[in-house]
């Protein structure tokens, strides 16, 4: 079979200049709004709790909440991650707990930059495995993570209805 090369530069995915920084509590409203825009649900209490636990978290806590902002400080996306260890025998690994990019700014490298920044934090903490869990029909996030090199791992998610 001949070699197939796809020039993705032709696919209208211009990168955008962004800054990535640690979240602050002042970002709360923008985070809630972006999440609501994507999920259709107002989860203010959830994000307030996450911010309480992750904003200002130091290296020792091994929790990371990074935001991507435009030149005029508009919040364009965010990623939340945490190092967890030894659940069901798993050595310490870096978990991606959330990743959201503004729908109007997708395919411009923002999610990739956020993930790269989080991976750098994990590597700095000597973590060698990245892990996340995504709904099976969440095509956008699943295909993004696969595109970044993640694949099905040795653990299988199991669940049961309790009602």
């Amino acid at each position: 079979m001949s070699s197939i090369k796809i020039d993705t530069a032709k696919m209208n995915n211009k990168k955008i200049a962004i800054s990535i920084r640690q979240v602050s509590k002042a970002d709360s409203a923008a985070i809630v709004a972006l999440d609501a825009e994507i999920t259709g649900a107002d989860k203010s209490a959830y994000w307030t709790d996450i911010l309480d636990r992750f904003a200002g978290s130091d290296q020792r806590m091994q929790r990371y909440f990074l935001v991507a902002t435009s030149a005029d400080d508009e919040l364009l996306g965010f990623i939340v991650g945490e190092i967890r260890a030894w659940e069901f025998g798993s050595p310490p690994c870096g978990w991606v707990l959330a990743l959201n990019v503004s729908p109007g700014h997708r395919e411009r490298g923002i999610g990739e930059s956020l993930l790269d920044a989080l991976c750098a934090k994990f590597r700095h903490a000597d973590i060698t495995t990245l892990r996340t869990m995504v709904l099976g029909n969440d095509k956008v996030n699943l295909s993004f993570f696969r595109g970044e090199g993640l694949a099905a791992g040795p653990y299988i998610e199991l669940e049961k209805r309790l009602d």
Binding site: M1, S2, I4, K5, I6, D7, T8, K10, M11, N13, E107, G136, N137, K139, L142, S143, F145, R146, G147, A152
Partner: protein, 140 residues
């Protein structure tokens, strides 16, 4: 899971067209490039046009061109017209003894397996598929 020949042809064609999105290619060119049946490929191309992944360009120098997005179009988008994901389990019409319990239990297992296969196929974009292939070949 064993992919149908039509699925393989569809992937050849879509990836070939996506590799040069500004150009049109004829069925004959693609069939020759991959050493496959032009008649079988022609049927596949018509299905791909109907599904909106490629478009037909008429006139001199006409042919087909890619109409998707390699960063969004998934393996499932390309092959779903040619595949049935429902696990095929032969079971007799009359079930006796514990057979009904066994078959009913296997139905659950098959649904779980089918769901995992569907999720996997629908999460691998054309770009990711190509990367897998290149990495495998480089590893030898």
């Amino acid at each position: 899971m064993k992919l149908q020949k039509a699925s393989r042809y569809a992937l050849y064609a879509v990836l070939h067209l996506a590799s040069a999105p500004d150009k049109q290619h004829s069925t004959a060119e693609i069939a020759e490039e991959y050493g496959i049946s032009i008649h079988h490929l022609a049927k596949v191309m018509r299905t791909l046009v109907r599904s909106g992944l490629i478009e037909s360009v008429r006139g001199v120098g006409g042919g087909y061109r890619f109409a998707g997005n390699v960063r969004r179009t998934t393996l499932w988008d390309v092959i779903h017209e040619f595949e049935s994901l429902e696990s095929d389990m032969e079971s007799p019409d009359e079930l006796s003894g514990n057979a009904e319990i066994v078959i009913s239990g296997l139905d659950n297992v098959n649904r779980e397996i089918d769901g995992l296969i569907r999720s996997t196929l629908d999460s691998i974009t054309l770009k990711t598929l190509l990367r897998y292939g290149v990495e495998n070949l480089e590893r030898g």
